[in-house]
């Protein structure tokens, strides 16, 4: 009854002006209402509403049975989620910061990503692992990692990363509905950076597809998550200098929207990839290789990458030096353009 009422209310409001963190909250709320098998679990997701308030209000609304504070135990969270998922539930597990996902790496690598393959789909583990990632908010060490590439090298797992309130809610709902496990990376820096109209209803944004934020002719800028505002700033500056750029927000990091990437590079002949993870082993290399495989003959310049350096994410006094800036991106755009 209460649920019915709520659902009605939802449909009356068409859109709300939300921050990304609110949109994510709204995405979980929407699915907790619509799908009884969903549950939220993790450290401090209950009464506390999550350390970033992503689960704010959910405990009060859905009770401690659907919004579960767990012990401090990442492998336990993911390991029990495997059991829950195999047995009919859809866990939305929160890892408090991406830098704390490593204790669960074994579970994700050897089970979450392999169970469907191993049983030809007899068992599957649809679940969402949410994790805030990235530097730039003056957090203590390890809190600021951006290690998506450790998970895109793991067949059986999808990796998604929104950049705005609208695509955050839509992608999260897609992730929850996906028949396969999805790692959902949330750029902390974007949590409260902007607001956007977000439909109150359930809607989805397709996993596996990028979106073109801007159409241009000379250079393809490829980025995602927290680097989108940086890339956009550089793109505008480039435009002022007369260089017109395509700007692609990948949205899904695995599987990549190879078509959008290759179409764009075939058009422009030049690519600048922006990510905050370390260069070596980073997803930028996957994109470079994709371009090599699909659009080699169209390239007019070496592919540029603007990334974090090959050092551990530094303590925050130096994090601004580690992170790509619009200046560095612009420089690479110009370098590619003038090659």
């Amino acid at each position: 009854m209460a649920v019915e009422l709520r659902r009605k209310t939802r449909q009356n409001i068409t859109a709300k002006n939300l921050t990304m963190i609110q949109a994510i909250n709204d995405g979980m709320k929407t699915m907790l209402e619509l799908d009884d098998t969903t549950l939220v679990l993790g450290e401090d997701v209950g009464k506390n509403g999550g350390v970033f308030r992503a689960t704010e209000g959910l405990y009060e609304e859905f009770g401690e049975d659907r919004v579960v504070d767990t012990p401090l135990s990442e492998s336990g969270i993911i390991g029990t989620s495997v059991g829950l998922a195999v047995n009919g539930f859809k866990p939305i597990a929160e890892i408090q910061f991406m830098g704390f996902i490593y204790p669960a790496y074994n579970q994700i690598m050897t089970h979450v990503s392999r169970i469907r393959m191993k049983t030809r789909g007899h068992f599957s583990v649809p679940m969402v692992i949410r994790a805030p990632y990235g530097a730039g908010i003056r957090a203590p060490e390890v809190h600021s990692d951006s290690t998506e590439a450790l998970f895109t090298h793991m067949p059986g797992l999808k990796v998604v990363c929104p950049s705005s309130p609208y695509n955050a809610k839509g992608l999260l709902i897609s992730a929850i509905e996906d028949p396969d496990p999805v790692l959902f990376l949330e750029p902390m820096r974007n949590y409260r950076a902007t607001r956007e109209e977000v439909p109150a209803q359930k809607y989805t944004v397709e996993i596996g597809k990028g979106r073109k934020l801007h159409e241009g002719e000379e250079v393809s800028i490829i980025a995602w998550g927290a680097m989108i505002p940086v890339a956009e700033e550089a793109r505008e500056q480039a435009e002022q200098k007369g260089i017109s750029c395509d700007l692609i927000d990948l949205q899904t990091l695995y599987p990549l929207d190879r078509e959008m990437i290759s179409e764009s590079v075939k058009k422009t002949g030049r690519a600048v990839i922006v990510h905050e993870a370390q260069a070596t082993g980073g997803l930028g290399e996957t994109i470079v290789s994709t371009i090599n495989d699909t659009s080699f003959l169209y390239l007019r310049a070496p592919i540029e990458r603007v990334t974090g350096f090959d050092v551990p994410v530094p303590f925050f006094a130096l994090e601004d030096y580690f992170l790509p800036t619009a200046k560095r991106v612009l420089k690479s755009i110009e370098k590619a353009f003038n090659f």
Binding site: L39, D65, T70, P71, S73, S75, G76, I78, G79, T80, S81, V82, G83, L84, A85, V86, N87, G88, F89, P103, N106, Q107, T110, H111, I115, R116, M117, K118, T119, R120, G121, H122, F123, S124, P155, G156, K158, P179, D180, G208, P255, L256, R258, E259
Partner: protein, 351 residues
């Protein structure tokens, strides 16, 4: 500590009753069923070892010596419960209803061996040690959430208790009072490492204290002690009374796997005094009038046939199909994988 966790035994090494509590329940049907399954999985185990020696399957980890632990525990489960085995627990899964051909296929490198018969909640054997323990917690938690009375049992060895996942799994179970049975087979060794080097605690049962969890230590070579104590734990779990850690003290009579040579690390006389569970049961049956020579040799012959037939089925199984490499990674194949698959299949055509 050991004194706090006495080993519960019902019939001793000579097959004599030392605890009459369950005497009434140990009837012909139970005894025969026990013997049937123990003999059956022993036959399977021996055959698997010999197939490996002949190069007809891959490396194989025998469970010889642990038949009472595996059969006794599996028979204590209900039809719709969940079972999370390791690589050494095919005796338990076979008893619980796994398909024998599948088990041979598994050890011949075929994923088909991971797929249980429809309706049987048997999870694929966990190879990374202890990882299945939280899975069992999650699956049984799911049953609790659904309001059923189904439970889950996790099988694991003595070595597994050293891994973090053992700890995290038991902690979750105790906090969420999940209907889980943690069935430990303490066979004295983790490959070459004896239990004294694996842990400083005298028993595994006492590890439950860390979780405020019920635990019990049993003679793992006494199929009846295993059966009744597992049943008790299962019943408590079903009744919402929470999880139990069971330590079944047993002995691996053979090698860790067919690639292992226990003479390298196990003193020759160690374990010599242990009466292996099938002969203990046989003695018990003979002493208590359950041994019907004719019936039994007929059963044995029939089981040998079953095993041979399963080997035949395994060896005549359709060859592994290269498309399977790709087809089951995701519910729907991503484009890039479609491309990899097509290109590869074309290439294979060419050859």
């Amino acid at each position: 500590m050991e004194a706090n966790y006495p080993i519960k035994t019902i019939i001793d090494d000579q097959g004599d009753f030392i605890d009459d509590l369950y005497k009434d329940q140990i009837d012909e049907q139970l005894v025969e069923n026990m013997y049937y399954h123990m003999y059956r999985i022993r036959t399977f185990d021996k055959k698997a070892i010999s197939l490996q020696r002949q190069g007809r399957i891959g490396t194989y980890p025998p469970f010889g010596g642990q038949e009472a632990a595996q059969v006794g525990s599996a028979l204590a489960l209900g039809e719709n419960d969940w079972i999370f085995p390791t690589y050494r627990d095919h005796g338990a899964t076979l008893t619980y209803g796994a398909d024998m051909t599948s088990m041979f296929l598994y050890w011949n490198g075929r994923v088909e061996g991971c797929i249980p018969p429809e309706g049987k909640n048997i999870f694929p054997a966990a190879v990374p040690i202890a990882t299945q323990i939280p899975h069992a917690v999650g699956a049984s938690w799911a049953e609790k959430r659904k309001g059923t009375d189904r439970i889950a049992v996790a099988y694991f060895g003595d070595g597994a208790t050293s891994e973090g996942d053992f700890h995290e799994g038991l902690n979750f179970a105790s906090v969420f009072k999940t209907p889980t049975v943690f069935f430990n087979q303490n066979n004295g060794y983790a490959i070459s490492v004896p239990i004294e080097k694996q842990m400083n605690s005298e028993t595994i049962a006492q590890k439950a204290v860390a979780y405020g969890m019920r635990s019990v230590r049993i003679d793992g070579n006494d199929c009846f002690a295993v059966y009744f104590e597992t049943k008790k734990a299962v019943d408590l779990a079903r009744a919402g009374k929470g999880p139990t850690l069971i330590e079944a003290v047993t002995w691996r009579t053979g090698a860790h796997t067919t690639a292992d040579d226990p003479t390298k690390y196990r003193p020759a006389d160690k374990g010599k005094d242990i009466v292996e569970p099938l002969s203990r049961l046989e003695q018990f049956m003979k002493k208590n009038g359950f041994w019907k020579e004719g019936k039994i040799s007929e059963m044995q012959a029939q089981l040998k046939e079953e095993v041979d037939a399963a080997v035949d089925a395994m060896e005549n199984y359709p060859e592994a199909n290269v498309e399977d490499l790709f087809d089951h990674v995701f519910a729907e194949l991503p484009e890039e994988l479609v491309k990899q698959k097509e290109t590869y299949l074309e290439l294979l055509e060419e050859y």
